[in-house]
Symmetry: C2
Subunit: 414 residues, 2 copies
Amino acid sequence: MALIVQKFGGTSVGTVERIENVAERIKKFRDRGDDIVVVVSAMSGETNRLIEMAYQIDEKPNAREYDVLLSTGEQVTIALLSMALNRRGVPARSYTGTQVHILTDSAHNKARILDINELNMRTDLDQGRVVVVAGFQGVDEKGNITTLGRGGSDTTAVALAAALKADECQIYTDVDGVYTTDPRVVPEARRLEKITFEEMLEMASLGSKVLQIRAVEFAGKYNVPLRVLSSFDEPNFDSDGVNGTLITYEEDKMEQALISGIAFNRDEAKLTILGVPDKPGVAHGILGPVGDANIEIDMIIQNIGADGTTDFTFTVHRNDFVAAKAVLNRVSNELGAREVIGDEKIVKISLVGVGMRSHAGIASKMFKALAEEGININMISTSEIKISVVVDEKYLELGVRTLHSAFGLAEKQS
Amino acid sequence: MALIVQKFGGTSVGTVERIENVAERIKKFRDRGDDIVVVVSAMSGETNRLIEMAYQIDEKPNAREYDVLLSTGEQVTIALLSMALNRRGVPARSYTGTQVHILTDSAHNKARILDINELNMRTDLDQGRVVVVAGFQGVDEKGNITTLGRGGSDTTAVALAAALKADECQIYTDVDGVYTTDPRVVPEARRLEKITFEEMLEMASLGSKVLQIRAVEFAGKYNVPLRVLSSFDEPNFDSDGVNGTLITYEEDKMEQALISGIAFNRDEAKLTILGVPDKPGVAHGILGPVGDANIEIDMIIQNIGADGTTDFTFTVHRNDFVAAKAVLNRVSNELGAREVIGDEKIVKISLVGVGMRSHAGIASKMFKALAEEGININMISTSEIKISVVVDEKYLELGVRTLHSAFGLAEKQS
């Protein structure tokens, strides 16, 4: 019926028994008539076992050899899964990254996919075989084994789906989809049936870590319909689409919800440099030294004051707070600024939804809801499809619940 | 100075620490100026771990996938060893069977090497790199991963040495060479400095399991000088050749000892079918059904009697004794033979030496020595370079010691 790429992560194939379960699931899809390409990760724990041996030998292991080592993890899984399928009478054939020829650049440990030769896979599919591909790995043009970096198996799956023009790319995880927000914070949080790629990118980068960002970007670029679903639930063939969350392009505005979800990030810290004499180049004068110290900056806000000075505020990862403050103190002297202040106990809450593009009043509704609960907003930052606010750490749960309720996210929207 | 292929088995690379030791050893050869190609097996225990998972899934695992699975074992070792070398400032690069392109036929689990592309290796050697190759594995012409079967790493090493026209192929094991006989039976047993390929074949097939027979055959065919030595001893660079045992072609008759060693085999059992009417085809009539039952036959002796009947005796592995006896009882009736008798408590002792080709009287000296100790000989079988006798099990140690002493094997011969 359909050509489906299915990706199973390390937990889903963590034991021989779970590999057997995955084989059973694939068999059900085959029995329905689907053509299946499977991408698997290393069995959970295996990659760490290999990494440990490497670091026993060298604290900076040779990058090329590190990839040779790590790529064995997925190779074990493809062999075992193919055995399990063949034993069930489902013809299957495994491929390493080299064999399927997932061509990458030569950036060991973080290679990027350049091209995929889908010929072998196509032949196998035509002959009724399930194709089982090792995720996370590829080969450069000289035949060296490369790896895509942690989480790269998602990218492999999306890239194969794009190359094969698959009908759907299914990413199996230990959660059953993307939620309006973290159900541990808001018990009424609802699984989304659909979310756009752009929203998913915002949700993922803001801390809802279901999918690798690179995989989502890749899927968006090649218009691959992505579905996130649980490897522990039974597949639901009666009503297609009820399982998991489908990540799709914004094409069907009628069905599009105003707001898709609420993301949050507990790991932020805020720094402000006050009374900086306002002249061209001041932003670079402040942020340059911070970047030189290898500190990543998230939100940035600058207000020009009336007295010819400016206040400059930005957020960093909480782990970088002390280092960033030290840099700022030095910069502050050099620039003749008044003072450096900081706050480690802040969080970021973000409202995400493509609907806000065409709807006015979302921001004011958000600020009003927070104000009614007495939640003071420290910083505001907006993009086309999200509004982020920084608030005191203690307001995180209250803030997320208030917004979840104010925008009616617990109810199915249409 | 020389181009040397070194092979390290599973025990020699069984832990990260031992891999570091192997790296140290290789560095010493590099420091001396040798070009080194290393072949390694999977870390000991690893192959069994993989096999166990496969058999949990299927008691007859898919042969192609079994090779994909098992080949990861050596891949882990090549990566770790290359890391250990690079960390020591010895540039090294690893190759899987696929990467070095060890072309084999497609007989999964027991593939045979057809060709080796030495181009990549040669380039690396020219650039001062140590080349680290995964043993035991290859690739067929369609790109499928194959394995050569257990012990195939020895064969890989010899094949690489042949392709590269190496000066020597060194097989590192947990023994320091080939002995005149098993030192556990004869404490005075002496390490041989040299042994011919033919003798080594006889010694190996007769139970002195130091090297894989296929590797020895391969080395003989391509005239590759093979050396067996211990991975636990320090390399001796002062007087070349003092380490281990060199297996060479019979070229230097002056130095050749009359007898090289005494092999023995405890796993034999003897069967005799008495009074078979003697007519053409009788050997096939007896051995055909035994072969059909998948029982391998070792020694065969037939005596023609005076009364138009013949006695037919052969030996099998002790595990096959009961099955072989059942077959013989049936055959005996069909052929009108008189009786079937058997003995499970026998052993085979063999005198091996290319010298016996050109020296008469070896056999009679052997029989005399055994007779003087009251050891009765059940069966005799000879080839060009060996004489085997079957005796009662209880005479094994006495027989081996007697012959070891009678032929003066404890003393260095010239």
